[in-house]
Every structure is written in structure tokens, then in C-alpha cells.
């Protein structure tokens, strides 16, 4: 894994992990706070509603008692009970007066006033249709029933009428449930989804909504509640339970809610306060979105900062690595451009000093080689001169043997001369002084000439050389002498490292912007380890048949230098014991 990725990872963990941890804590705390807050609020609202409903019920129960204590009503009932036939009209008149113009009706109007016997049978009523009907019987002054008819929902209160401590009749006072609805329809502080509503038991298995619902205005006394579901606050309220649902509760709309239930025993009514979880936790969704957006921004920022930091570290290292690689390939003039005033800068500085030392040493070595070679050349030149003079001197006849030996001496001296020239060329090439004498050249002709020159030598080794001159133009600009040397060197090597009876194949051709010449043998081949040092100075592959003349190990090094100077490339592919193939690639030039 590269330093860039590692740095990014470190920065991400430094930045993101604490952020996510804190975010998670805040998130959980916030969630708890929101729930508790919402729940406390709901509890307060529900309790308030419970109180209002209780107050309303108490006021009208008291109102019924008050009306029953009115002398006109009280006496009319007493007289009616005593003699119904005579006092029937009088009772009806008293009830009508009490309903429309009585002192209580002026404070809290009601819809119907009825008198029953102790069993609830209606004796008289302001609504004469009610006479003869049975009312629910309750012992005290209290809410007797809630019912629905064609005109709406009504509350009916009952109060006993006692004469000499004996209950002889009952008074029923009926009001519209609108005043009750007014209480639950006040949804101040309950947001978009919160509400309170009243429920009561309908029969053994069912309850019923008493008030309209926020999202079902016709529910009052028509919509039923199944009591079998424990997670329904409305059902639990019907079952007379004071419960708090902080999670898991489901509303009549099948929405998850938090809810509070209160049961009012005097009225036989349950109150439910509830609000959708969605609304309670709304802010937390918003927070979550913000956290995610912020985390994404943080990741972007971290990636940006870390790549910047990585660049700070990696750039000088890559520069150093590049320079070191050049140095490895013998370019001692290379320097690392690391200028920062830190440890990396120090490393770069040290590296540059090292490169400078290497360069100086390499230059010194080349200078020494050049000087020594020059000094060696002078006596060689003298020997060449003297031998030539003797051979050419026509005044003294030499014997054939003398001539032959002098010629051999001349040839040996020439070999020495060539070696010195090669060493000088290497030294000059190293110090960048190898000069090319470039001229337009037909590479095909040049190759053919070199192949021809080597035929005799290979024949001596019982080897064959194969070259088919190609068709087409192989005209380019090279130093023919040096390129000839390269081709010859490759042929000589191929021959040296191949057995008798084998064949060296020279081929050539065009590729895109290049001409190539390939020399292939079926000899010893080159191991991978040897391949690496193949083009180095003074390296020679171990060969039992090694010969002295070419034994300096400079051939391939020079060959590579020469091809490089031409802007070309010299490459090798080889399999041990199967042979080698060297390819010279030269750019085509006009």
C-alpha cells in the first residue's frame, strides 16, 4: 500500500472516528431528550384534558341537582307523584319553564329535561317523544349516558329527587356533546399529528370513540375499538388503564405513536393523548441528515488534506527514487531536486553529495584510463612505424620468413592498437566524449559487408552465418564505422558462445519509425542473472571457449553506448541452453 493511501487512512481515522463517536453519542442523547420531552409534554396536556372533562361532567351533574332543587320543579314533581292525572300539565309546564327560562338554563343551556320514576321510566319530558322510555339508572348526581341520535351526540346527566330522605323520582338533564368536543378539539401544543380524544366501553369486546378524531371527524360515537390489541392506546384507555407508551404503540391510523392514557372513573371515560413518533423524532432525522452531510464533507476535506500531506512526503521520495535509479544506470550527473528544509531535504542533500562524489570518481577513472591509453599508444605507434619502414624498405631484400614474421608482428601490434582504441572509446563514452561521425548510410549494405567480413572466421569454427539482404530502403543516418562495430560485435559474440556446426542468423526489417537488425544464435544462452550485467563495463559471461582478443568485456558495453548515442536501443532475449537473440533498433533519419 502506498504512502498516499496510508496517509489518507490515518487522516480518515483521526477525523472520522471521533466525529462518528461524538455524533453517535449526541444522536442517542438527543433521541432520549426528544422522547422524554415529548412524553412529558403529552402527559401534561392529557392530564389537563382529563381535568377539563371532569370539570365539565361535574358542572352538569351539579347543574342537574340544582335544577331538581328549584321549588317550582320540586313541588310540581311531588304533586304529580301524588296525583298524576291532575298535575300532569303543571309538571310539564314547570319542566318547560326550567329548560327555557330557569335560572340555570340562563348560565348553561341544556336540550332536554325529563323526570322518571326510580326505575328510570320517563314520566314527563320537555321532549314529549321521550315519555314512556326507560333511562339508564345511576345512584348519584352524575353522567348517566352518552348517546347519539339524529341530531348528534348528547350527554345525559341524572340526579335523584328525595322527599323526606326518600328518593321518589329522578331528574335527567341532557346537553349537546359539543362542549365536550370543544375540549378535545383544542390541539394547542400538539403539533401536526398530536391529539387528545375520549373513549368509553361499547360492549364486552369493543370500545367506542366519544369525540371526533383529528383525522376522522365522524368517529364520535360511531367508530369502534377492538379491545384485543395491547399496543393500541385507545383500547388500553377503554380497559381503564393509566398507561404510558414510549415506544411500540400504534395509533388508529396504524402510525407508530408515543401515547398517554388516563381513565376517569366518575365519568367512565378514558382520555388518550398521542403524537406520531415521526413528528417527535423529526428533528433527529434532520440531525441525522446533517451528520451524514457533514461526515461526507469531512471525508472530502480529509482526502484533500491527506493527499496534500502525502504529496509533501511522497514527492521528494519519488524524486529521490528517480534520481537513484538514474544513478544506478550510470548517469552520475543526476541530482535530486529536493529542497525542503527537513529530514527529506537532508536526505536529498546527502544523496546529491554522494552522486557528486561518484561523478568525480568516475570522471577521475575515465581520465586515468584516457591518459594511460594515450601513453600506451605512443610506443605502439612507434612499433607500427618501424615495422612498416622495414617492410617497405626496398633496398634490403627480406627473406619470405622474415617478411611473414614482421607482418605477424605488425598484426599483433595492430590488435594491441585496437584494444587501446576501444579502452579510449569507453573512457570517452563515459565522459560523454564519444563522437559520432554520422553520415547517410544504407544499413542493408553495411550489414551485408559486416556479415561478409565474418564469414571466414565462422567457417574456421565450422559455423555458418545466414543473411538474406532485404528488399526496400534501409537508408538512414548513422556512424557506419561504429554501427558496423556493433553488428560485428554481436556476430562475434554469437559465434563465440555457440558450438561448432551451429548457425548464426542475421535478419533485419522495418518497424514504425525504426530499422531493426537481429542477430540470433543457438548457443549457450544467457542466464537471468547474467542478463542484468550483460551491458556493463568489463563484464564477460563465463565461457570455457573464451578467447583473448575480444576478452576485455567491453564489446557489449560499447555496443550499447553506441546504439544509445544514435537514439536507438539494444535489447536481448535469451533462454539458457537454447540461444540468444540481440536486436539493434535505430531510428530512421533523413
Amino acid at each position: 500500500m502506498s504512502i498516499r493511501y496510508k496517509t489518507a487512512l490515518v487522516f480518515l481515522s483521526i477525523g472520522l472516528i471521533p466525529f462518528l463517536a461524538v455524533g453517535m453519542l449526541v444522536f442517542l442523547d438527543f433521541q432520549t431528550a426528544l422522547r422524554n420531552n415529548a412524553f412529558r409534554h403529552l402527559e401534561a396536556v392529557t392530564s389537563l384534558q382529563e381535568e377539563r372533562v371532569n370539570d365539565l361532567v361535574a358542572v352538569y351533574a351539579l347543574g342537574a341537582a340544582y335544577v331538581s332543587e328549584q321549588p317550582a320543579v320540586r313541588h310540581a314533581v311531588q304533586d304529580y307523584l301524588h296525583d298524576p292525572a291532575t298535575n300532569k300539565d303543571r309538571l310539564h309546564g314547570a319542566l318547560m319553564t326550567a329548560e327555557s327560562g330557569g335560572p340555570y338554563a340562563k348560565v348553561a343551556p341544556f336540550q332536554e329535561l325529563a323526570v322518571t320514576d326510580t326505575e328510570g321510566l320517563v314520566l314527563d319530558s320537555t321532549d314529549t317523544a321521550q315519555i314512556g322510555i326507560r333511562m339508564p339508572v345511576v345512584p348519584r348526581s352524575q353522567l348517566a349516558e352518552i348517546y347519539r341520535d339524529g341530531k348528534g351526540v348528547h350527554l345525559r346527566f341524572s340526579t335523584p329527587m328525595a322527599y323526606d330522605d326518600k328518593v321518589l323520582a329522578k331528574l335527567y338533564l341532557t346537553i349537546s356533546a359539543q362542549s365536550l368536543f370543544a375540549i378535545t378539539s383544542n390541539r394547542t401544543g400538539l403539533g401536526e399529528s398530536g391529539e387528545t380524544f375520549l373513549v368509553k366501553r361499547f360492549d364486552t369486546n369493543k370500545g367506542i370513540f366519544v369525540t371526533p378524531l383529528r383525522f376522522d371527524s365522524s368517529a364520535a360515537f360511531s367508530r369502534k375499538i377492538s379491545l384485543a390489541q395491547a399496543n393500541r392506546p385507545s383500547a388500553q384507555a377503554v380497559l381503564e388503564r393509566d398507561e404510558t407508551f414510549t415506544s411500540g404503540a400504534v395509533s388508529y391510523r396504524n402510525q407508530p405513536v408515543i401515547a398517554v392514557t388516563r381513565y376517569m372513573p366518575q365519568a367512565g371515560i378514558g382520555v388518550v393523548g398521542q403524537i406520531d413518533e415521526y413528528e417527535v423524532y423529526g428533528p433527529i432525522q434532520q440531525l441525522a441528515t446533517q451528520v451524514v452531510v457533514f461526515a461526507a464533507l469531512l471525508v472530502l476535506f480529509t482526502v484533500f488534506v491527506s493527499s496534500f500531506m502525502a504529496e509533501l512526503f511522497v514527492r521528494p521520495i519519488l524524486l529521490l527514487a528517480g534520481a537513484a535509479d538514474k544513478l544506478r544506470h550510470g548517469d552520475f550527473s543526476t541530482r535530486a531536486k529536493v529542497r525542503s528544509q527537513d529530514e527529506l531535504g537532508q536526505l536529498g542533500h546527502t544523496f546529491n553529495n554522494m552522486a557528486e562524489d561518484l561523478e568525480k570518481q568516475d570522471q577521475a577513472k575515465s581520465d586515468v584510463i584516457a591518459l594511460i591509453s594515450h601513453q600506451l599508444r605512443t610506443p605502439v605507434t612507434a612499433v607500427k612505424g618501424f615495422v612498416s619502414l622495414v617492410l617497405q624498405d626496398e633496398r634490403h631484400k627480406l627473406t619470405p620468413d622474415e617478411t611473414k614474421m614482421l607482418k605477424l608482428a605488425f598484426d599483433e601490434n595492430e590488435k594491441l592498437n585496437i584494444l587501446i582504441t576501444q579502452i579510449l572509446d569507453v573512457a570517452h563514452a563515459d565522459s560523454g566524449k564519444l563522437a559520432l561521425k554520422e553520415q547517410p548510410t544504407d544499413l542493408a549494405k553495411l550489414t551485408h559487408k559486416v556479415v561478409h567480413e565474418h564469414e571466414a572466421t565462422l567457417r574456421l569454427r565450422q559455423q555458418a552465418i545466414e543473411f538474406t539482404p532485404p528488399t526496400g530502403s534501409f537508408q538512414t543516418v548513422v556512424d557506419p564505422e561504429k554501427i558496423g562495430f556493433v553488428i560485428g560485435n554481436l556476430i562475434t559474440n554469437a559465434s563465440k558462445y555457440s558450438p561448432a556446426g551451429s548457425k548464426v542468423v542475421v535478419a533485419m526489417g522495418h518497424s514504425k519509425n525504426h530499422l531493426w537488425i537481429k542477430v540470433t544464435d543457438t548457443g549457450l544462452g544467457i542466464s537471468d542473472a547474467d542478463k542484468r550485467k550483460l551491458f556493463q563495463k568489463f563484464s564477460r559471461i563465463e565461457n570455457p571457449k573464451r578467447e583473448i582478443a575480444e576478452g576485455m568485456g567491453l564489446g557489449l558495453y560499447m555496443a550499447k553506448k553506441i546504439v544509445d548515442l544514435h537514439g536507438g536501443d539494444l535489447t536481448v532475449s535469451s533462454r539458457e541452453n537454447h540461444g540468444s537473440s540481440f536486436t539493434i533498433e535505430l531510428p530512421t533519419k533523413e
Binding site: V380, T381, L389, Q392, T421, H428, A435
Partner: protein, 130 residues
Amino acid sequence: MARILVIEDYENLRLIYKTALINAGYDVDVSSDGLEALEVVKTHEPDLILLDLLLPHMGGLEFLRAFDLTKHQHTAVVVFSNLYSPNLLEEAKKLGVKYYLTKSDFTPQEMIDFVTKALAESKPAENAGK
């Protein structure tokens, strides 16, 4: 016959070139360094100078500066040295040298062939007259 001045510090080479040139029929002067050569040219104006570069007391290029080829339009100079250096070659060209050879590449006969050719090139009319 043309007069050749050989400036060469290595005694045996001096001997070889002198012998070969005399055998070829040239008039030959020899000197072992630049200072000596400057004395020689005062009395014998050479047609061609065979000039080595690395010399004691006064080097080949220093000699050329002192000799000043612009004042000796009829003298050809062949730098004949075993020291190969593009820098020195450039310097020699600036001083008016047309030929720059590596000694060890030449047998005496080849050297004479070259000298003859160089003389023919530098003074075609004069040589044609002789």
C-alpha cells in the same frame, strides 16, 4: 620539393617520420617542442607542419597561436596526435587547422600519402608547377 616540419617529442616517432619523409623525397626539419619549432620556422618556412599536441615547454596549440597561420597562408598544418579530444579539435579548427589525425591509425606510408594529398589541396597551383 616541399619542406615539411615535424614537431614530435617522442624521439623514435620523430625518427620514423623523418626517415619516411626523406625517403619520399621531402625536405624535412624536425623539432621536439613548440619553442624549438618557433626557432626553426624563422629560417625555414615550411609548406606543411606535422604537429603533435602534447609537447614539453610549449604545446602544439600554443605553438599554433604563436606561429599564427594568418601570417603563413601557404603553410598547411596536419595535427598528428594520439590524443583524441573534440574540444582540442574545435580549438585547432579555430586556429586554422584543416587536418586532424590519430597517429596510431597510420603507417608511415599512409602518412606520406596523406601529406602528399594535403599539400596538393593546400597549394594546387604551386605543386602543379613543379
